[in-house]
Each structure stands twice: as structure tokens, then as C-alpha cells.
Amino acid sequence: MSLQTLIDQPTFDALKESMGDDFMDELLQTYFEETPQLLTSLQNALAAQDFIAFTRSAHSIKSTSNSFGALDFGLLARELEFMGKAQNLDGAAAKVEFLAGEYQHVRQALEDLAHGQ
């Protein structure tokens, strides 16, 4: 199982257009620094069964990923956000692990796009 579409090109292009090329690079770097931290927060929140922190971390991953066009990845995060909201994290561990794994592919795809491949 893996995501069918990593990055929605029109969304990515629209953001790049509105941010400008140089700033888009900076924004991507920030995303690459921040997302692993958010994934860690998500894992910690899961371990602690902290629904509020879990929901918030998933929400943030969803929000920033959608901005770059990582829409399917964003949907996964949204699913976790809803589980957090419903205060039921049964089965969340596998999904969190999958999300963390998929992030590597999202990152690669974003880097490729940014460098025009």
C-alpha cells in the first residue's frame, strides 16, 4: 500500500507562483525541518494517549502538507486528526507509522519538483 499521488502539481505550482522561486525553496526547507518534529510529536502524543496534542499535530501536518499539494498525505493526516478528535486511537499506531514512512516519499517528490525534475 502506498499513496497514489504524492504531489498535486497545480497546487504546488500555484503556491510557488505566489511565493516566488527563492522563497518557495526556503518554505520547503522549513517544511522539511518542521514535519519530522511534528511526526515525533504525533508519536509521543500517541504513546501518552494525549488526544489534544495528537489532534493538533495531525492537524498541523495536514495543513502544511496540503499547502504544498501533498493532498493524499494530507488526507492520511486528516484521518488521524479525526481519530484524535473522536478520542479513539485504536489502530492509530499503524497509521502513524505509515504516515512517517510516506513522509520520506513526499519529501523526495517535493525536492524533485523544486529542482524541476
Binding site: 498535486d8 497545480p10 505566489s18 489532534t55 495543513s63 496540503n66 488526507l75
Partner: protein, 287 residues
């Protein structure tokens, strides 16, 4: 578009997810069917049987990404309503779709009023292709060479100066918002949670707070409640919510907490600009 199973039209569709649709049709059953289908794809809908009510929503600035209008309505038909809507919102920011049970030729010349037409009974596949086609086409249109980004953007801050506080904990979102503001000539102070936001408003006068809803320590809703409890309207800053939520009731939740306006993420420059232009700066001595 990617080759994701194109004919799998069950459940959330990324192309349409979280897009806000206005449905105007006097037939309640038609509205209900459209609502169900669009919800199923993740879209956020609001519907009315009254063209007058739809115009009211648009005039007061309620945000929509698309409107589906029925042709045959008693007080005002779909084409007349479209002409009225275009006096308020241009077709790039709010594409209009006409649904009709008669052929397109019989409607007569509607010029450039509609981005697309739907023939009733509306099949899900036709509906999906039409809507997805519109949203895919939108960003490309903006990029046509020759159409420059509004060059006067930088002047906005000069003509309409504002003291802005951005309350947002996520760095990517902070940078993105600051960049959009910078492109309009604005600068902003940054608070990274609700407590800091309230403290900043205590210390300094701001005309507007761009308030993220999900923040650690204290969320944007609670921060807004506190600001509104301490300072009356006219003294306190205008509070504009920013959220990437998917729930239909989010806007209402923000307004109930005392916020004045609502932007959904990812923040778009035209929507941000519009919201900021709606803000009345406070008197010099204000909060």
C-alpha cells in the same frame, strides 16, 4: 491530472476536498441530492432555494469557491442571478455553473457568465468531471503571460495601513502568511500560541489579529474569547480566524468565540487581501 482511479467516485476526492460550494435551487430534492453527492466528495456546501438569500451571503463576504445555480427558479432565473453575482464576485474567484434540464442552446446567449453547464438529471461522473475541470483550470488561468499580478499590491499597506499580529505556531504557516502580507506591503508581529497572542494585545495596539485556531498552550478560540471579554468592540482588534479544518461548523464556532472573520487554509492572497481591506483601523489611542 494523475491517473488515480478516475472512475472511483466514492468518498473524498482530493481535487474537490474542502472546496466551498454555494447551491441555489428552488427544488429542495435537487438541493438535497447535490448536497449529498458533494459532501461525499469532501466538499463543504451551503444551499438555499432563494436567489435573494444567496446574494445576501455573497454581499456580506461569505467565502465560496464555486456556485451551482439552477436555471429555472421562480423569483429570478439562474442567468439573472449569475449576472447579479458577477457584480459582487468576479468569475475567477467564484466560477459559476448552471444546471438545467433543457439544452444549452435553448437557454440563449449567456455570454461568459458560466464556467460550465450541467444537464439534469445530473450524473455523478458528469458532476465530478465538470467541477474537477474547473478547479484544475483555475490556477493555470492566473498564470497566463500578460496577466500580471496586481502591481499595486505593495501600495495596499500605504493606502490602508494596519498594525497586524499573526498568531500561529507552525513555522511553515507563519512564513507563508508573512510572505503574503509582505507582498501587500505589510509587516506583522508574531505570537506562537494563544497566551502570547493575548499578552501581545495587552501590551500593544493592533488593528487586526490573524488567529490560527489550533495552537498549543491556548488555542485561538480561547484566546479570542479572552480578548473579547476584556476589550469591547471598537477598542479591541478585529480578529480573523485562520484554519485548515474540514468541518462545516468551524466558521460558526469561530464567530461564536467572538472572531470577526474567517479564512480557510491554505490562505489565498486575494482572500487575505479582502479580509484586511474590511478591517477598520482603531483610533490611535485604541487598544
Amino acid at each position: 491530472m494523475p491517473e488515480r482511479s478516475r472512475r472511483d467516485l466514492k468518498g473524498i476526492q482530493p481535487q474537490l476536498n474542502e472546496k466551498r460550494v454555494l447551491i441555489v435551487d428552488d427544488n429542495a430534492t435537487n438541493r438535497r441530492i447535490l448536497n449529498l453527492q458533494l459532501h461525499n466528495w469532501g466538499m463543504l456546501t451551503r444551499d438555499t432555494g432563494s436567489p435573494a438569500e444567496a446574494l445576501l451571503w455573497l454581499k456580506r463576504g461569505d467565502p465560496f469557491d464555486l456556485a451551482i445555480l439552477d436555471m429555472h427558479m421562480p423569483e429570478m432565473d439562474g442567468a439573472m442571478l449569475a449576472a447579479e453575482i458577477q457584480k459582487i464576485r468576479d468569475s475567477a474567484s467564484l466560477p459559476l455553473v448552471l444546471s438545467t434540464s433543457i439544452g444549452r442552446l435553448e437557454i440563449g446567449d449567456t455570454g461568459k457568465l458560466f464556467a460550465a453547464y450541467l444537464n439534469k438529471p445530473i450524473k455523478p461522473s458528469q458532476l465530478f468531471d465538470t467541477l474537477a475541470g474547473i478547479f484544475v483550470a483555475l490556477p493555470t488561468e492566473e498564470k497566463k503571460p500578460g496577466i500580471q499580478k496586481a502591481p499595486a499590491d505593495l501600495e495596499i499597506a500605504k493606502e490602508h495601513p494596519l498594525r497586524i499580529l499573526l498568531a500561529e505556531d507552525i513555522l511553515v504557516n507563519q512564513k507563508l502568511a508573512l510572505r503574503l502580507l509582505e507582498q501587500m506591503g505589510y509587516r506583522a508581529d508574531v505570537a506562537s500560541n494563544g497566551i502570547e497572542a493575548v499578552q501581545s494585545v495587552e501590551r500593544q495596539t493592533y488593528d487586526v489579529v490573524l488567529m490560527d485556531v489550533q495552537m498549543p498552550e491556548m488555542d485561538g478560540l480561547e484566546a479570542s474569547r479572552r480578548i473579547c471579554a476584556r476589550w469591547p468592540r471598537g477598542i479591541r482588534p478585529t480578529i480573523i480566524a485562520m484554519t485548515a479544518n474540514a468541518m462545516a461548523g468551524d466558521r460558526e464556532m469561530c464567530l461564536e468565540a467572538g472572531m470577526d472573520d474567517y479564512l480557510s487554509k491554505p490562505i489565498r492572497r486575494d482572500e487575505l487581501m479582502k479580509a484586511l481591506l474590511n478591517v477598520s483601523p482603531l483610533q490611535k489611542g485604541g487598544k
